[in-house]
Protein backbone atom coordinates (compact mmCIF):
# COMPACT_ATOMS: atom_id res chain seq x y z
CA UNK A 1 0.00 0.00 0.00
CA UNK A 2 2.93 2.33 0.66
CA UNK A 3 3.85 2.29 -3.03
CA UNK A 4 0.30 3.39 -3.89
CA UNK A 5 0.64 6.32 -1.48
CA UNK A 6 3.99 7.41 -2.94
CA UNK A 7 2.65 7.08 -6.48
CA UNK A 8 -0.57 8.94 -5.62
CA UNK A 9 1.34 11.79 -3.97
CA UNK A 10 3.76 12.09 -6.89
CA UNK A 11 1.00 12.07 -9.53
CA UNK A 12 -1.17 14.44 -7.48
CA UNK A 13 1.65 16.98 -7.17
CA UNK A 14 2.47 16.58 -10.87
CA UNK A 15 -1.21 17.25 -11.63
CA UNK A 16 -1.01 20.44 -9.52
CA UNK A 17 1.97 21.51 -11.66
CA UNK A 18 0.11 20.74 -14.89
CA UNK A 19 -2.88 22.65 -13.54
CA UNK A 20 -0.76 25.76 -12.95
CA UNK A 21 0.95 25.41 -16.34
CA UNK A 22 -2.34 25.13 -18.25
CA UNK A 23 -3.85 28.13 -16.44
CA UNK A 24 -0.72 30.18 -17.18
CA UNK A 25 -0.64 29.24 -20.89
CA UNK A 26 -4.34 30.11 -21.30
CA UNK A 27 -3.69 33.46 -19.66
CA UNK A 28 -0.71 34.14 -21.97
CA UNK A 29 2.00 33.57 -19.34
CA UNK A 30 4.86 31.06 -19.62
CA UNK A 31 4.00 29.55 -16.21
CA UNK A 32 6.19 27.37 -14.00
CA UNK A 33 7.50 23.96 -15.11
CA UNK A 34 5.02 21.17 -14.48
CA UNK A 35 7.20 19.59 -11.76
CA UNK A 36 7.25 22.87 -9.80
CA UNK A 37 4.86 21.60 -7.10
CA UNK A 38 7.06 18.56 -6.51
CA UNK A 39 10.06 20.88 -6.16
CA UNK A 40 8.03 23.12 -3.84
CA UNK A 41 7.25 20.20 -1.58
CA UNK A 42 10.89 19.11 -1.48
CA UNK A 43 12.02 22.69 -0.88
CA UNK A 44 9.58 23.20 1.99
CA UNK A 45 10.74 19.94 3.55
CA UNK A 46 14.20 21.44 4.16
CA UNK A 47 13.17 24.99 5.06
CA UNK A 48 13.55 26.33 8.57
CA UNK A 49 10.39 25.50 10.50
CA UNK A 50 8.83 26.82 13.66
CA UNK A 51 5.43 27.32 15.23
CA UNK A 52 4.02 30.85 15.68
CA UNK A 53 4.07 32.11 19.26
CA UNK A 54 0.33 32.78 19.18
CA UNK A 55 -0.60 29.31 17.90
CA UNK A 56 -2.27 26.43 19.68
CA UNK A 57 0.87 24.37 19.15
CA UNK A 58 -0.50 20.83 19.32
CA UNK A 59 -3.43 21.57 17.04
CA UNK A 60 -1.18 23.47 14.64
CA UNK A 61 0.93 20.34 14.04
CA UNK A 62 -1.90 17.83 14.52
CA UNK A 63 -3.97 19.06 11.57
CA UNK A 64 -1.07 18.44 9.19
CA UNK A 65 -0.83 14.82 10.31
CA UNK A 66 -4.61 14.42 10.17
CA UNK A 67 -4.66 15.83 6.62
CA UNK A 68 -2.11 13.26 5.46
CA UNK A 69 -3.90 10.53 7.42
CA UNK A 70 -7.37 11.08 6.02
CA UNK A 71 -6.30 11.30 2.38
CA UNK A 72 -4.09 8.25 2.77
CA UNK A 73 -7.15 6.48 4.19
CA UNK A 74 -9.22 7.72 1.26
CA UNK A 75 -6.73 6.26 -1.20
CA UNK A 76 -6.82 2.95 0.68
CA UNK A 77 -10.65 2.96 0.42
CA UNK A 78 -10.40 3.49 -3.34
CA UNK A 79 -7.70 0.89 -3.92
CA UNK A 80 -9.41 -1.73 -1.77
CA UNK A 81 -12.79 -0.81 -3.35
CA UNK A 82 -14.35 -0.03 0.02
CA UNK A 83 -17.47 1.95 0.89
CA UNK A 84 -18.39 5.09 -1.03
CA UNK A 85 -20.02 6.37 2.16
CA UNK A 86 -16.63 6.15 3.87
CA UNK A 87 -15.05 8.12 1.04
CA UNK A 88 -17.80 10.71 1.44
CA UNK A 89 -17.12 10.82 5.19
CA UNK A 90 -13.40 11.32 4.68
CA UNK A 91 -14.08 14.12 2.24
CA UNK A 92 -16.23 15.86 4.85
CA UNK A 93 -13.56 15.33 7.52
CA UNK A 94 -11.23 17.37 5.32
CA UNK A 95 -13.39 20.33 6.35
CA UNK A 96 -12.14 19.87 9.92
CA UNK A 97 -8.57 20.05 8.64
CA UNK A 98 -9.25 23.29 6.76
CA UNK A 99 -11.02 24.76 9.76
CA UNK A 100 -8.41 23.61 12.27
CA UNK A 101 -5.54 24.84 10.14
CA UNK A 102 -6.90 28.36 10.18
CA UNK A 103 -8.07 28.43 13.80
CA UNK A 104 -4.90 27.01 15.30
CA UNK A 105 -2.47 29.74 14.24
CA UNK A 106 -4.12 32.67 16.01
CA UNK A 107 -3.66 34.71 12.83
CA UNK A 108 -6.69 36.73 11.68
CA UNK A 109 -5.99 35.69 8.08
CA UNK A 110 -5.97 32.04 9.05
CA UNK A 111 -9.15 32.52 11.04
CA UNK A 112 -10.94 34.17 8.12
CA UNK A 113 -9.80 31.36 5.82
CA UNK A 114 -11.14 28.86 8.33
CA UNK A 115 -14.48 30.61 8.58
CA UNK A 116 -14.80 30.78 4.81
CA UNK A 117 -14.05 27.07 4.72
CA UNK A 118 -16.93 26.26 7.03
CA UNK A 119 -19.19 28.78 5.31
CA UNK A 120 -18.59 27.01 2.03
CA UNK A 121 -19.83 23.74 3.51
CA UNK A 122 -22.35 23.96 0.69
CA UNK A 123 -19.58 22.49 -1.50
CA UNK A 124 -20.08 19.18 0.31
CA UNK A 125 -23.78 19.08 -0.44
CA UNK A 126 -23.40 18.18 -4.14
CA UNK A 127 -21.24 15.23 -3.06
CA UNK A 128 -24.06 14.00 -0.85
CA UNK A 129 -26.38 14.28 -3.86
CA UNK A 130 -23.90 12.29 -5.95
CA UNK A 131 -23.70 9.53 -3.36
CA UNK A 132 -27.50 9.42 -3.13
CA UNK A 133 -27.95 9.16 -6.90
CA UNK A 134 -25.35 6.41 -7.24
CA UNK A 135 -27.01 4.45 -4.43
CA UNK A 136 -30.41 4.74 -6.13
CA UNK A 137 -29.03 3.24 -9.34
CA UNK A 138 -26.70 0.57 -8.00
CA UNK A 139 -28.40 -0.28 -4.68
CA UNK A 140 -25.04 -0.41 -2.93
CA UNK A 141 -22.42 1.89 -1.46
CA UNK A 142 -19.57 -0.55 -1.96
CA UNK A 143 -17.23 0.37 -4.82
CA UNK A 144 -16.95 -3.27 -5.86
CA UNK A 145 -20.73 -3.41 -6.40
CA UNK A 146 -20.78 -0.03 -8.17
CA UNK A 147 -18.04 -1.16 -10.56
CA UNK A 148 -19.80 -4.49 -11.13
CA UNK A 149 -23.04 -2.62 -11.91
CA UNK A 150 -21.23 -0.53 -14.50
CA UNK A 151 -19.65 -3.59 -16.08
CA UNK A 152 -23.14 -5.00 -16.54
CA UNK A 153 -25.12 -1.87 -17.48
CA UNK A 154 -22.55 0.63 -18.78
CA UNK A 155 -20.99 3.81 -17.36
CA UNK A 156 -22.95 5.71 -14.71
CA UNK A 157 -21.97 8.89 -16.57
CA UNK A 158 -24.76 8.05 -19.01
CA UNK A 159 -27.35 6.99 -16.43
CA UNK A 160 -26.63 9.61 -13.77
CA UNK A 161 -25.17 12.54 -15.68
CA UNK A 162 -26.41 15.25 -13.22
CA UNK A 163 -24.71 13.37 -10.38
CA UNK A 164 -21.47 13.41 -12.38
CA UNK A 165 -21.85 17.18 -12.86
CA UNK A 166 -22.36 17.54 -9.10
CA UNK A 167 -19.15 15.62 -8.36
CA UNK A 168 -17.37 17.72 -10.98
CA UNK A 169 -18.45 20.87 -9.06
CA UNK A 170 -17.19 19.28 -5.84
CA UNK A 171 -13.77 18.60 -7.37
CA UNK A 172 -13.69 22.08 -8.88
CA UNK A 173 -14.38 23.56 -5.43
CA UNK A 174 -11.26 21.90 -4.09
CA UNK A 175 -8.87 22.90 -6.90
CA UNK A 176 -6.31 25.65 -6.44
CA UNK A 177 -7.26 28.90 -8.27
CA UNK A 178 -10.84 27.71 -8.73
CA UNK A 179 -13.69 30.23 -8.68
CA UNK A 180 -14.75 28.63 -5.39
CA UNK A 181 -11.27 28.69 -3.74
CA UNK A 182 -12.27 31.47 -1.35
CA UNK A 183 -10.41 29.97 1.59
CA UNK A 184 -7.03 30.74 0.00
CA UNK A 185 -8.05 33.97 -1.66
CA UNK A 186 -5.27 36.56 -1.85
CA UNK A 187 -7.13 39.30 0.03
CA UNK A 188 -6.64 37.15 3.12
CA UNK A 189 -2.98 36.37 2.19
CA UNK A 190 -3.08 32.55 1.89
CA UNK A 191 -6.15 32.10 4.06
CA UNK A 192 -6.02 29.16 6.42
CA UNK A 193 -2.55 28.14 5.18
CA UNK A 194 -0.98 31.55 5.86
CA UNK A 195 0.98 30.50 8.94
CA UNK A 196 1.85 26.95 7.90
CA UNK A 197 5.28 27.04 6.32
CA UNK A 198 8.39 24.85 6.16
CA UNK A 199 7.82 21.19 6.95
CA UNK A 200 4.18 21.85 7.85
CA UNK A 201 3.53 23.27 4.39
CA UNK A 202 5.36 20.33 2.80
CA UNK A 203 3.08 17.97 4.73
CA UNK A 204 0.02 19.86 3.57
CA UNK A 205 1.24 19.80 -0.04
CA UNK A 206 1.58 16.03 0.20
CA UNK A 207 -1.95 15.73 1.61
CA UNK A 208 -3.41 18.03 -1.04
CA UNK A 209 -1.58 16.15 -3.79
CA UNK A 210 -3.13 12.94 -2.52
CA UNK A 211 -6.52 14.66 -2.32
CA UNK A 212 -6.42 15.72 -5.97
CA UNK A 213 -5.35 12.23 -7.03
CA UNK A 214 -8.09 10.57 -4.96
CA UNK A 215 -10.88 12.87 -6.18
CA UNK A 216 -9.99 12.53 -9.86
CA UNK A 217 -9.52 8.77 -9.49
CA UNK A 218 -12.88 8.49 -7.69
CA UNK A 219 -14.65 10.40 -10.46
CA UNK A 220 -13.30 8.08 -13.16
CA UNK A 221 -14.11 4.94 -11.13
CA UNK A 222 -17.59 6.08 -10.15
CA UNK A 223 -18.77 7.31 -13.53
CA UNK A 224 -16.75 5.44 -16.15
CA UNK A 225 -16.36 2.08 -14.45
CA UNK A 226 -13.47 -0.37 -14.30
CA UNK A 227 -10.84 0.49 -16.94
CA UNK A 228 -7.16 -0.34 -17.51
CA UNK A 229 -5.04 1.75 -15.14
CA UNK A 230 -3.17 3.69 -17.84
CA UNK A 231 -6.49 4.68 -19.40
CA UNK A 232 -7.72 5.76 -15.95
CA UNK A 233 -4.65 7.98 -15.59
CA UNK A 234 -5.23 9.48 -19.06
CA UNK A 235 -8.88 10.20 -18.21
CA UNK A 236 -7.86 11.77 -14.91
CA UNK A 237 -5.52 14.05 -16.84
CA UNK A 238 -8.29 15.00 -19.27
CA UNK A 239 -10.59 15.77 -16.39
CA UNK A 240 -7.87 17.90 -14.81
CA UNK A 241 -7.35 19.84 -18.06
CA UNK A 242 -11.05 20.64 -18.23
CA UNK A 243 -10.92 21.88 -14.61
CA UNK A 244 -7.87 24.00 -15.43
CA UNK A 245 -9.79 25.62 -18.30
CA UNK A 246 -12.65 26.50 -15.96
CA UNK A 247 -10.21 27.92 -13.39
CA UNK A 248 -8.33 29.92 -16.02
CA UNK A 249 -11.43 31.58 -17.40
CA UNK A 250 -13.42 32.15 -14.18
CA UNK A 251 -12.81 34.95 -11.70
CA UNK A 252 -12.80 34.16 -7.98
CA UNK A 253 -16.37 34.43 -6.71
CA UNK A 254 -17.28 36.22 -3.52
CA UNK A 255 -17.94 33.93 -0.52
CA UNK A 256 -21.71 34.36 -0.70
CA UNK A 257 -21.80 33.82 -4.49
CA UNK A 258 -19.79 30.65 -3.95
CA UNK A 259 -22.32 29.34 -1.46
CA UNK A 260 -25.18 30.32 -3.78
CA UNK A 261 -23.77 28.51 -6.82
CA UNK A 262 -22.97 25.38 -4.82
CA UNK A 263 -26.38 25.37 -3.14
CA UNK A 264 -28.09 25.78 -6.52
CA UNK A 265 -26.13 22.82 -7.86
CA UNK A 266 -27.25 20.79 -4.88
CA UNK A 267 -30.86 21.92 -5.40
CA UNK A 268 -30.87 20.86 -9.05
CA UNK A 269 -29.36 17.48 -8.25
CA UNK A 270 -31.78 17.03 -5.33
CA UNK A 271 -34.73 17.52 -7.70
CA UNK A 272 -33.11 15.01 -10.07
CA UNK A 273 -32.72 12.51 -7.22
CA UNK A 274 -36.37 12.90 -6.22
CA UNK A 275 -37.42 12.25 -9.83
CA UNK A 276 -35.12 9.23 -10.10
CA UNK A 277 -36.32 8.01 -6.69
CA UNK A 278 -39.95 8.25 -7.76
CA UNK A 279 -39.16 6.43 -11.02
CA UNK A 280 -37.35 3.65 -9.16
CA UNK A 281 -40.16 3.40 -6.60
Amino acid sequence: MFDYLIFGTFVGLLFHGIHRKVIARIQGRPGPPIWQEILHTLKFSFKQTWIPKTASQTLFVWVVLVAIGIWSAALVVLVTRGSLLLLFGIYLLHKIVEHGMGLSSGSPYGKFGAIRSVMSAASELPLFATVGAIYLFTGSMMLTDILAWQTEHGPLLVFAFPAAVALYVVILSKMHYSPFAIIESKEIVSGNMTEHFGVWRAGLEVAFGLKTYVLLYAFVLLFLGPLPFLLVLALMLLLLLSLSFVCAFSPMLSPYDTVTVQSLTMGIVAVYIVIVGVLFA
Binding site: K53, T54, L59, W62, G82, G106, P108, V118, F128
Partner: protein
Protein backbone atom coordinates in the same frame (compact mmCIF):
# COMPACT_ATOMS: atom_id res chain seq x y z
CA UNK B 1 -24.23 -13.40 17.98
CA UNK B 2 -25.67 -10.49 16.04
CA UNK B 3 -25.33 -10.13 12.32
CA UNK B 4 -25.47 -6.70 10.73
CA UNK B 5 -28.28 -7.00 8.16
CA UNK B 6 -26.87 -4.47 5.69
CA UNK B 7 -23.20 -4.61 4.72
CA UNK B 8 -23.49 -2.91 1.34
CA UNK B 9 -23.61 0.58 2.87
CA UNK B 10 -20.99 0.84 5.58
CA UNK B 11 -18.89 -2.26 5.13
CA UNK B 12 -18.71 -5.39 7.29
CA UNK B 13 -19.27 -5.47 11.03
CA UNK B 14 -16.05 -5.41 13.08
CA UNK B 15 -17.07 -5.51 16.73
CA UNK B 16 -20.18 -5.89 18.85
CA UNK B 17 -20.68 -4.87 22.48
CA UNK B 18 -23.93 -6.19 23.87
CA UNK B 19 -25.79 -4.71 26.87
CA UNK B 20 -28.98 -6.76 26.95
CA UNK B 21 -31.08 -5.57 24.06
CA UNK B 22 -28.84 -2.55 23.54
CA UNK B 23 -26.15 -3.57 21.08
CA UNK B 24 -23.31 -1.19 20.36
CA UNK B 25 -21.22 -2.03 17.33
CA UNK B 26 -18.46 -0.99 14.97
CA UNK B 27 -18.44 -1.33 11.24
CA UNK B 28 -15.57 -0.09 9.06
CA UNK B 29 -17.47 3.18 8.64
CA UNK B 30 -18.38 3.82 12.27
CA UNK B 31 -14.92 2.68 13.41
CA UNK B 32 -13.32 5.38 11.25
CA UNK B 33 -15.70 8.01 12.60
CA UNK B 34 -15.08 6.83 16.18
CA UNK B 35 -11.31 6.98 15.67
CA UNK B 36 -11.57 10.50 14.33
CA UNK B 37 -13.67 11.59 17.31
CA UNK B 38 -11.20 9.92 19.67
CA UNK B 39 -8.24 11.69 18.04
CA UNK B 40 -9.84 15.09 18.53
CA UNK B 41 -10.97 14.29 22.08
CA UNK B 42 -7.35 13.45 22.95
CA UNK B 43 -6.33 16.68 21.21
CA UNK B 44 -8.70 18.64 23.46
CA UNK B 45 -7.05 17.08 26.51
CA UNK B 46 -3.44 17.72 25.54
CA UNK B 47 -3.50 21.02 23.67
CA UNK B 48 -3.65 24.57 24.92
CA UNK B 49 -5.65 27.33 23.19
CA UNK B 50 -4.15 29.81 20.75
CA UNK B 51 -3.73 33.52 21.53
CA UNK B 52 -5.92 35.01 18.86
CA UNK B 53 -4.55 38.15 17.20
CA UNK B 54 -6.96 40.98 16.40
CA UNK B 55 -6.28 44.16 14.51
CA UNK B 56 -7.58 47.50 15.79
CA UNK B 57 -9.28 49.08 12.80
CA UNK B 58 -8.06 52.51 11.69
CA UNK B 59 -4.45 52.02 12.77
CA UNK B 60 -1.47 49.67 12.88
CA UNK B 61 -2.20 48.38 16.36
CA UNK B 62 -2.99 44.78 17.11
CA UNK B 63 -3.58 42.85 20.28
CA UNK B 64 -3.79 39.24 21.34
CA UNK B 65 -6.69 37.79 23.26
CA UNK B 66 -5.85 35.85 26.38
CA UNK B 67 -7.97 33.08 27.82
CA UNK B 68 -8.39 33.18 31.57
CA UNK B 69 -7.70 29.96 33.54
CA UNK B 70 -11.38 29.73 34.53
CA UNK B 71 -12.61 29.99 30.96
CA UNK B 72 -9.89 27.60 29.79
CA UNK B 73 -10.95 24.94 32.31
CA UNK B 74 -14.63 25.29 31.55
CA UNK B 75 -14.19 25.22 27.77
CA UNK B 76 -11.92 22.20 28.00
CA UNK B 77 -14.36 20.36 30.24
CA UNK B 78 -17.23 21.09 27.85
CA UNK B 79 -15.18 20.09 24.81
CA UNK B 80 -14.17 16.87 26.56
CA UNK B 81 -17.79 16.09 27.42
CA UNK B 82 -18.70 16.88 23.82
CA UNK B 83 -16.02 14.44 22.63
CA UNK B 84 -17.33 11.69 24.93
CA UNK B 85 -20.90 12.24 23.74
CA UNK B 86 -19.72 12.12 20.13
CA UNK B 87 -17.88 8.85 20.80
CA UNK B 88 -21.09 7.41 22.23
CA UNK B 89 -23.13 8.54 19.25
CA UNK B 90 -20.63 6.95 16.85
CA UNK B 91 -20.90 3.46 18.30
CA UNK B 92 -24.50 3.45 19.48
CA UNK B 93 -26.70 0.71 18.07
CA UNK B 94 -29.89 2.04 19.55
CA UNK B 95 -31.88 4.98 18.15
CA UNK B 96 -32.85 6.34 21.57
CA UNK B 97 -29.25 6.26 22.82
CA UNK B 98 -28.19 7.98 19.63
CA UNK B 99 -30.70 10.78 20.20
CA UNK B 100 -29.57 11.12 23.84
CA UNK B 101 -25.93 11.44 22.83
CA UNK B 102 -26.92 13.90 20.11
CA UNK B 103 -28.77 16.15 22.54
CA UNK B 104 -25.78 15.99 24.91
CA UNK B 105 -23.55 17.15 22.05
CA UNK B 106 -25.94 20.08 21.55
CA UNK B 107 -25.78 21.05 25.23
CA UNK B 108 -21.99 20.85 25.45
CA UNK B 109 -21.57 22.81 22.21
CA UNK B 110 -23.55 25.67 23.72
CA UNK B 111 -21.32 25.44 26.80
CA UNK B 112 -18.17 25.76 24.67
CA UNK B 113 -19.46 28.96 23.08
CA UNK B 114 -21.01 30.42 26.22
CA UNK B 115 -17.72 30.20 28.14
CA UNK B 116 -16.42 33.32 26.43
CA UNK B 117 -17.62 36.46 28.23
CA UNK B 118 -18.42 38.72 25.35
CA UNK B 119 -21.86 40.22 24.84
CA UNK B 120 -22.09 39.19 21.16
CA UNK B 121 -20.84 35.68 21.78
CA UNK B 122 -23.22 35.18 24.71
CA UNK B 123 -26.12 36.45 22.60
CA UNK B 124 -25.20 33.91 19.96
CA UNK B 125 -24.96 31.13 22.57
CA UNK B 126 -28.45 32.02 23.75
CA UNK B 127 -29.78 31.75 20.20
CA UNK B 128 -28.06 28.39 19.66
CA UNK B 129 -29.66 27.25 22.88
CA UNK B 130 -33.09 28.06 21.51
CA UNK B 131 -32.35 26.21 18.25
CA UNK B 132 -31.01 23.19 20.14
CA UNK B 133 -34.05 23.13 22.45
CA UNK B 134 -36.47 23.29 19.55
CA UNK B 135 -34.51 20.56 17.75
CA UNK B 136 -35.08 18.13 20.62
CA UNK B 137 -38.75 17.93 19.59
CA UNK B 138 -38.14 16.31 16.16
CA UNK B 139 -35.11 14.44 17.55
CA UNK B 140 -36.93 12.58 20.33
CA UNK B 141 -40.13 12.67 18.30
CA UNK B 142 -38.42 10.54 15.65
CA UNK B 143 -37.39 7.97 18.27
CA UNK B 144 -40.96 7.94 19.61
CA UNK B 145 -42.47 7.46 16.14
CA UNK B 146 -40.01 4.66 15.36
CA UNK B 147 -40.84 2.87 18.61
CA UNK B 148 -44.57 3.33 18.14
CA UNK B 149 -44.62 2.05 14.56
CA UNK B 150 -42.01 -0.70 14.66
CA UNK B 151 -41.96 -1.78 18.31
CA UNK B 152 -38.18 -1.51 18.58
CA UNK B 153 -35.39 1.04 18.73
CA UNK B 154 -32.57 -1.39 18.02
CA UNK B 155 -30.76 -0.49 14.81
CA UNK B 156 -30.03 -4.20 14.33
CA UNK B 157 -33.71 -4.82 13.88
CA UNK B 158 -34.49 -1.57 12.08
CA UNK B 159 -31.76 -2.09 9.46
CA UNK B 160 -33.32 -5.38 8.40
CA UNK B 161 -35.66 -5.67 5.41
CA UNK B 162 -38.57 -6.87 7.56
CA UNK B 163 -39.18 -3.52 9.23
CA UNK B 164 -40.19 -0.36 7.37
CA UNK B 165 -39.40 2.86 9.23
CA UNK B 166 -41.79 5.72 8.35
CA UNK B 167 -40.26 8.44 6.18
CA UNK B 168 -41.44 11.12 8.60
CA UNK B 169 -39.38 9.57 11.40
CA UNK B 170 -36.26 9.64 9.22
CA UNK B 171 -36.88 13.28 8.30
CA UNK B 172 -37.41 14.19 11.97
CA UNK B 173 -34.20 12.42 12.95
CA UNK B 174 -32.19 14.36 10.36
CA UNK B 175 -33.84 17.66 11.38
CA UNK B 176 -33.09 16.97 15.03
CA UNK B 177 -29.42 16.25 14.34
CA UNK B 178 -29.16 19.37 12.20
CA UNK B 179 -30.49 21.46 15.07
CA UNK B 180 -28.27 19.90 17.74
CA UNK B 181 -25.10 19.85 15.66
CA UNK B 182 -24.92 23.59 15.56
CA UNK B 183 -21.80 24.19 13.43
CA UNK B 184 -23.78 25.54 10.46
CA UNK B 185 -25.60 28.07 12.67
CA UNK B 186 -22.49 29.01 14.57
CA UNK B 187 -20.37 29.68 11.54
CA UNK B 188 -23.07 31.67 9.80
CA UNK B 189 -22.73 34.30 12.49
CA UNK B 190 -19.86 36.70 13.05
CA UNK B 191 -19.47 35.51 16.64
CA UNK B 192 -17.20 32.70 15.60
CA UNK B 193 -14.54 35.26 14.72
CA UNK B 194 -14.64 36.69 18.23
CA UNK B 195 -14.34 33.55 20.32
CA UNK B 196 -10.80 32.21 20.87
CA UNK B 197 -9.99 28.66 22.01
CA UNK B 198 -9.26 26.82 18.75
CA UNK B 199 -9.15 23.19 19.96
CA UNK B 200 -12.46 23.61 21.80
CA UNK B 201 -14.23 25.63 19.14
CA UNK B 202 -13.09 23.03 16.61
CA UNK B 203 -14.81 20.35 18.69
CA UNK B 204 -18.13 22.01 17.81
CA UNK B 205 -17.39 21.40 14.16
CA UNK B 206 -16.03 17.88 14.70
CA UNK B 207 -19.06 16.75 16.70
CA UNK B 208 -21.61 18.32 14.31
CA UNK B 209 -19.96 16.78 11.26
CA UNK B 210 -19.59 13.33 12.78
CA UNK B 211 -23.22 13.36 13.95
CA UNK B 212 -24.28 14.28 10.43
CA UNK B 213 -22.20 11.46 8.94
CA UNK B 214 -23.65 8.97 11.44
CA UNK B 215 -27.25 10.02 10.84
CA UNK B 216 -26.74 9.67 7.08
CA UNK B 217 -25.67 6.07 7.66
CA UNK B 218 -28.60 5.38 10.00
CA UNK B 219 -31.23 6.93 7.74
CA UNK B 220 -29.97 5.19 4.59
CA UNK B 221 -29.71 1.82 6.35
CA UNK B 222 -33.20 1.96 7.91
Amino acid sequence: MFELPVTTIEGPELFVLEFGDIVNYFTVYTAVLFTFALLFTILVIISRPERQVDFAFGGDAFYTKDITPGQFRFQRFMALACGMATLGAMMSGDVFNFTLFTSMVGITNIGIVAAYRNRHVLNAAFQYGIVAMIATVPLFGSAAIILATTGTLSMWALFGPAIAVPLVAKIFLVLGVMGEGMAPFYVAKAEITRAPGAPYVLMIHVSSLLLFLRVVEIVISM
